[in-house]
């Protein structure tokens, strides 16, 4: 797709800005893990991993680390001082029970009312898999979605209603794409920020659901987020 857009790093940086110091945060698999790399080191963030880790640290140096100390994406990680291990039931108690302040998730589709579809498509023949997506989506205090604005072939992913199977209904708080930052509100989708140089009509054209624009829409400058 041509035209102005944010890089992945810009998108991750933009999400990171919204994560307050002191937050307990769960980053979903894939694109959301980039957020951890760009959070300001001045913030003290405690990362949670569904497989029983609080205070998850970065990947170990090559050749070091514990092969059983992995994150939800099954990649090797470390534990920071103050971190802890616990079993799965406690871990999901944290997720489902509203103890995680912020989660950043990827999505296939999001509806105008914040319905999230991020576990299954309409593709047939593939066995389904769900993991911890549903527990996290219903339980985290704030659900942020980081995703591309459209599919690879240009179809909108923000829709009046999801066509893919739902993960959870009405859970998404804010959407971050390469084009815009959009809030899900009781009055529908409200654009807060748009990438510099993109016309509002063009943003609406690439969005399946109707957008409203905040009074003070800010511009996102590629390379300077």
């Amino acid at each position: 797709m041509s035209g102005p857009r944010l890089s992945l790093t810009d998108m991750a940086r933009r999400v990171a800005r919204d994560i307050p110091s002191g937050a307990y945060v769960n980053l979903g698999i894939g694109m959301p893990t980039l957020v951890g790399d760009v959070v300001s080191p001045e913030k003290e963030i405690v990362y949670h991993s569904e497989n029983g880790i609080l205070g998850m640290g970065p990947a170990p140096a090559p050749g070091e680390g514990d092969p059983e100390l992995i994150n939800a994406g099954k990649q090797p990680v470390t534990l920071v001082p103050g971190g802890s291990y616990f079993h799965h039931t406690d871990s999901f108690m944290m997720m489902r029970g509203g103890h995680i302040d912020v989660t950043v998730l990827g999505a296939f589709q999001i509806s105008a009312t914040g319905d999230l579809a991020n576990w299954a498509t309409d593709e047939v023949g593939h066995p389904p898999a769900v993991g911890g997506a549903m527990d996290l989506a219903v339980g985290a205090k704030r659900v942020l979605v980081l995703m591309t604005h459209t599919t690879k072939d240009g179809r909108p992913k923000i829709l009046p209603a999801c066509t893919f199977p739902l993960t959870a209904a009405g859970v998404v708080d804010r959407i971050y794409t390469e084009l815009a930052v959009i809030d899900v509100t009781a009055d529908g989708l409200v654009v807060r920020e748009v990438v510099a140089g993109l016309e509002r009509a063009e943003l609406q054209e690439r969005t399946g659901a109707r957008l409203a624009f905040a009074d003070d829409v800010a511009e996102l400058e590629p390379g300077a987020v």
């Binding site: 029983g52 999901f92 066995p127 769900v130 993960t167």
Partner: protein, 221 residues
Amino acid sequence: MIDKRVGSLVEAVADIRDGATVLVGGFGNSGIPVELVHAVLDQGARDLTLVTNNAGSGDSDVAALLREHRVRKIICSYPRTSGSIWFEERYRAGEIELELVPQGTLSERMRAAGAGLGGFFTPAGADSLLAEGKEVRIINGRRHVFEEPLHGDVALIKARKADRWGNLVYSTAARNFGPTMATAATLTVVQVREFVELGDLDPECIVTPGIFVDRVVEVGV
């Protein structure tokens, strides 16, 4: 004298029956009781229902049970991982049944079994296809789906150390489903890296009290 230690893997899995529901600890390749699962492979039990987060990858442990046609049904949250070839092959052939459960629900269903509860209502999955055919109730304004307890005939788990009473401590994130599965099965079998003397484990730090454990076997890893 209470002594839950057994001398061999053969003894540890001796009486697992055909048709048993077997809880297998592990998340990805972390915390899988590989030696115990291979012992079940050698022991020969078939027609098994496996309860495990992933459906194995490569050619080892859970994947080997699938390869050898030992599994009738798998209850898990994320069967599709890189290298889950045997699961995919058996699933496509219609040879195994899949019950897909959100990960927190999988764990909580086993907790309910271990805690003697008749189930619970959870918001996880209540708006999804996974709630189809289940009771849904509005609690505090939100949809919740009823989930039943999930009990195992056998649990196979991996820990780091055990004493002869079966008290356990684990190793980093390999703990995952172990403590919950230990409570949820009629027979809980644990492989450990090492045995320690009774009294050597700090009582403040024992993760699974021996009451939940039936057999422990030392495997050195």
